[in-house]
């Protein structure tokens, strides 16, 4: 089905459904980027530093694309990022967790779990009915492919020898949070019925599990049983978050608040 819907075509219900989908996309990328930049200057080598910085840069760029779509629907950057209450952010808890110092296994595994899910989610948006989204998915998808390759090429190595225990620790810790990527949206039915996304969240979850479990097991890792995992009380998608999130949100808003809410600067482009 060609993408035919534009902002002016949406009724209130369609709009709410689309916004829920876009907030999840944008917030995931934004917060994932915020954590990844912590590794700049701190990665094991200059090459791995550059590669990860490149990924973080892409994630911020994608977040901006998705927030732009929300601006097209009438929101402002200030509302979307700088003044939105922290408990209205819809990212999965996986991307907000801090890193223990030197825990390169965590960042690599986190990227893998996230990027594998992101790829499936974007695949399910290629044939979206919403034209502005359809226009952007291709570019994002091509960059996400590289992220997944980078994560896998590291994982293949980290899972050999002594470092495997570190990967296993990270997996035990992160897997329950990764499952929160697939919490069903409130507007799931409208998202599917209107063709905004072409695969259900439940099916995406199944496909993700069928992708990551065999791969991780092939590396000699023990993957927790998805339905038996003890889930953290914070689920992310519903606005509940771990304590780390408030701290992170306060940090990235520090200057904005210090400057008393300046109009967020644009560089070399016009406001939508």
């Amino acid at each position: 089905m060609p993408a035919t819907l534009n902002p002016e075509d949406l009724d209130a219900e369609q709009r709410a459904a689309l916004e829920e989908l876009l907030f999840r996309l944008a917030d995931d990328e934004y917060v994932h980027g915020e954590r990844l930049i912590e590794w700049q200057i701190y990665a094991p080598t200059l090459e791995s530093d550059l590669a990860l910085a490149n990924v973080a840069q892409d994630e911020f760029g994608h977040a901006r694309l998705w927030y732009d779509l929300l601006e097209e629907l009438g929101h402002t950057e200030a509302e979307l990022i700088w003044e939105r209450p922290a408990d209205e952010f819809r990212h999965a808890t996986l991307v907000e967790l801090p890193f223990a110092e030197g825990d390169w296994a965590d960042v690599i595994l986190r990227c893998y779990l996230y990027d594998a899910a992101e790829r499936l989610r974007l695949d399910a948006l290629v044939d979206t009915s919403y034209a502005p989204l359809a226009d952007r998915v291709g570019k994002v998808l091509s960059e996400e492919r590289y992220h997944l390759e980078n994560a896998q090429s590291w994982l293949d190595r980290l899972a050999e020898g002594d470092s495997r225990d570190r990967v296993q620790d990270a997996l035990d810790r992160l897997f329950p949070h990764a499952l929160s990527l697939f919490a069903e949206p409130d507007h799931e039915e409208a998202i599917i019925d209107n063709g905004f996304r072409t695969m259900s969240t439940a099916d995406l979850r199944i496909e993700w599990l069928e992708t990551v479990i065999p791969y991780l097991e092939s590396l000699g890792l023990d993957v927790p049983e998805p339905d038996e995992v003890e889930r953290p009380s914070a689920r992310g998608r519903d606005g509940t978050h771990t304590d780390h999130w408030d701290e992170l949100a306060a940090e990235f808003r520090r200057t904005y608040e210090e400057l008393e809410a300046p109009e967020p600067a644009r560089i070399g482009r016009e406001r939508v």
Partner: protein, 314 residues
């Protein structure tokens, strides 16, 4: 090649790895390029927190790209330094982690608020651009090649720094005052960026004789002031009374009264012995030690499979 021949032939991009360069030249060039590479890393370290703290998504992207560029520059420069055959990149990175590697004076000071950001991102980067533009004519060809790419990218960084300064100086009165206060703190350090005056510089004469440097510290500082004093004033900053800066009408150039600058502080920093040096070197060093296990694993994978390590994109 003997030293006399080097001095005779010294000129832009005159020497390359195929030339048999005397030890004095190779050591001086290594010292200079290693210092430059270290400064890229430590400058990136100082600016990194402001990726997170940038007050707009465009500024965040610009800052994140910038820190990434600095790492890329370090990579290029360590390669250019390695090409002299004196030290390997790993040796230079180890020296930096151990606190023995030297780097620019300005990157030894902490940077704590957004008002300070343009002091680095506009003035220090502007000073660096000013110096680096002359290094496109350095005699060591790999260094000059690195400068081509570095200068191109730094041009964007300085523009972004200028845009931040302009935004701050068009902000509320309180914002303007805080920016002015940051300027007053940073201004003497920025002037000292160019190093000691010619008569006190240890390496200046030799580096110029063999064409590694094409301008003296004093010449660079004076021409920097000619451009940046008017720029500071254009945005409403007031240049502090001290250090005294005098305009020489005859030569049509600004000149700083060197005695007004704190050279004890400068030399303490030059030895990596200031409080900020310890803080900045140690926290990076600690972070590097925390991922030593990854580097060790990498060595064993390379040994086992002969495969390369994952590479950066682009």
């Amino acid at each position: 090649m003997d030293l006399e021949t080097v001095k005779e032939r010294a000129g832009p991009r005159q020497f390359a790895p195929k030339d048999d360069m005397p030890e004095e030249y190779r050591k001086a060039a290594t010292r200079m390029i290693q210092f430059h590479a270290n400064s890229e890393v430590m400058g990136g370290y100082l600016e990194k927190p402001f990726i997170r703290q940038a007050p707009s998504i465009d500024r965040k992207l610009a800052f994140s790209a910038k820190v990434q560029d600095e790492i890329g520059h370090a990579q290029l420069l360590y390669r250019a330094a390695e090409s002299l055959g004196v030290k390997t990149r790993d040796e230079m990175l180890d020296e930096l982690a151990r606190g023995e590697g030297k780097f620019l004076n300005c990157f030894h000071y902490p940077m704590e608020s957004w008002h300070e950001v343009p002091m680095i991102a506009f003035f220090v980067d502007g000073a660096a651009m000013h110096r680096q533009a002359t290094l496109k004519n350095t005699s060591w060809t790999p260094y000059a090649h690195a400068m081509d790419k570095v200068c191109f990218e730094e041009g964007f960084h300085v523009k972004h720094g200028e845009s931040i300064l302009s935004e701050l100086m068009n902000g509320s009165k309180a914002t303007q005052e805080k920016t002015q206060a940051a300027f007053e703190t940073w201004w003497p350090r920025i002037i000292q960026f160019f190093g000691p005056t010619n008569d006190k510089s240890v390496h200046n004469d030799f580096a110029q004789e063999v064409g590694l440097k094409t301008k003296s510290n004093d010449e660079l500082r004076d021409t920097f002031l000619d451009t940046y004093v008017p720029k500071a004033e254009k945005y409403g900053l007031v240049v502090p009374e001290y250090p005294r800066i005098e305009y020489d009408e005859e030569l049509d150039t600004y000149h700083v009264n060197e005695d007004d600058l704190n050279w004890d502080e400068f030399w303490t920093i030059a030895k990596n012995a200031s409080e900020g040096s310890h803080e900045q070197i140690n926290s990076r060093s600690q972070a590097q030690a925390a991922v030593e296990w990854v580097r060790e694993s990498m060595h064993s994978w390379e040994g086992a499979s002969g495969a390369g390590t994952p590479q950066a994109a682009d």
